[in-house]
């Protein structure tokens, strides 16, 4: 915490003082006045996430919504500040996902690291798949149809091996494949995983070719995500310690992610 204290005033200036049209308060933080819509997460998205964890009869006042909105921006600033300091210390220019995870575990959000690692891992898998399937080099233009592929992915699939960042989650890809496709997405073939993709959310466990730990935080996180249930994560699952050590994988991730479209974008 202490090393972040130098950052906090800036974060507070960014996130703490808008209570209604605070453009003038932002001018000291950044040269152009920051528009409200650039400074905060969209309120509808925030409300949707809030409603997910509240009972149906709960109401949310407008000021509570706005406060949470502020808090989210502050949260991003808070974590980013810590990640930023780390980059500065190590004389790196780019804040990576691992820096963010590291900062979270350092600032007390250890419980988030597991589900986030899974989420990131799954994202990378899909991204790698999207990149590998077309046989296109990074940055090459690809049509929006890469999700139609029906052949087995080529060997270059998964360019980022599950490395230092998140070794315990290797097997989870299939689980998340399963739960992902259990959503509103039509059945999808040819991923080469050797098992059928379930069409419904509830039954995906039976497709898993391995035993899994039901207490696993990431599983809940993803299921909550796609199922819209309230269990966003399972705090305190100690199944895979040492997540803060993901930093060593940082450099590997820097190159990716910019060149091509989001692999999930087609799955709407």
């Amino acid at each position: 915490m202490d090393s972040s204290s130098g950052f906090l005033p800036a974060g507070a200036a960014n996130g703490g003082s808008n209570n209604g049209g605070g453009a003038q308060a932002q001018q000291q933080a950044a040269p152009p006045p920051i528009r409200e819509q650039d400074r905060l997460m969209p309120i509808a998205n925030v409300i949707r996430i809030m409603r997910r964890v509240l009972p149906p009869h709960a109401k949310i006042s407008d000021d509570a919504k706005e406060t949470i909105q502020e808090c989210v921006s502050e949260y991003i600033s808070f974590i980013t500040g810590e990640a930023n300091e780390r980059c500065q210390r190590e004389q790196r220019k780019t804040i990576t996902a691992e820096d963010v995870l590291w900062a979270m575990s350092r600032l007390g959000f250890d419980d988030y690291v597991d589900p986030l690692s899974v989420y990131l891992h799954r994202y990378r898998e899909f991204e790698g798949e999207a990149r590998g399937v077309g046989g296109l080099p990074p940055g090459a233009t690809r049509g929006g149809d890469h999700h139609h592929h029906s052949m087995a992915p080529p060997p270059m699939l998964k360019p980022r091996a599950p490395g230092a960042a998140m070794p315990p989650h290797h097997h989870d890809m299939q689980l998340h494949h399963a739960s992902m496709y259990g959503g509103a997405v039509p059945p999808h073939h040819g991923h080469g995983h050797g098992f059928a993709m379930p069409h419904h959310q509830g039954g995906h466990h039976q497709y898993l070719p391995y035993p899994y730990d039901p207490a696993y935080g990431g599983e809940h996180a993803m299921a909550a995500y796609y199922g819209g249930s309230g269990a966003a994560y399972a705090p305190g699952n100690g199944g895979s310690g040492g997540d803060g050590s993901g930093s060593s994988g940082g450099s590997a991730s820097q190159g990716g992610g910019f060149e091509h479209q989001h692999p999930f974008a087609s799955y709407k």
Binding site: N14, R39, A58, S61, A64, I68, T80, Y225, Y233, G257
Partner: protein, 128 residues
């Protein structure tokens, strides 16, 4: 319509901003990150990996869920069923993890910190 240019999918929101797996727009997250990170040590702009906002999109979900749950606990404590900003403030004050938000909720509460919710007139007070 589904056609996405390279560069367009991840950072510009696009389809994923609304219906994709990211419940929060990555471009917005990145903007907030950029502002928070400022400049790199050499004066150059701090760069942000494309994956960092992806992580944040999920992290913010977890964060919103957690603070909402704790605020709701405060709401129930007050035998109400409308979450007010004071409940959020209570959640922040009761949670060490959220210490960094104290200024935010104080600013929102007019500098008074945790005040007793005073909006009960719009509630029926009866909880199932």
């Amino acid at each position: 319509m589904r056609q996405a240019r390279p560069y367009s999918g991840i950072f510009c929101g696009g389809v994923s901003a609304r219906t994709g797996p990211h419940a929060l727009p990555l471009a917005r997250i990145k903007k907030i990150m950029k502002r928070s990170a400022g400049e790199a040590a050499d004066g150059g702009a701090r760069m942000i990996s494309g994956e960092a906002p992806v992580v944040f999109s999920k992290a913010c979900e977890l964060f919103i869920a957690e603070i909402t749950r704790r605020a709701w606990a405060a709401t129930l404590e007050g035998k109400r069923r409308t979450v007010h900003k004071e409940d959020v403030a209570t959640a922040v004050h009761n949670t060490d993890l959220f210490d960094f938000l104290v200024d935010v909720v104080m600013a929102d509460a007019g500098g008074g910190g945790h005040a007793a919710p005073g909006y009960d007139d719009d509630e029926n007070g009866a909880l199932e």
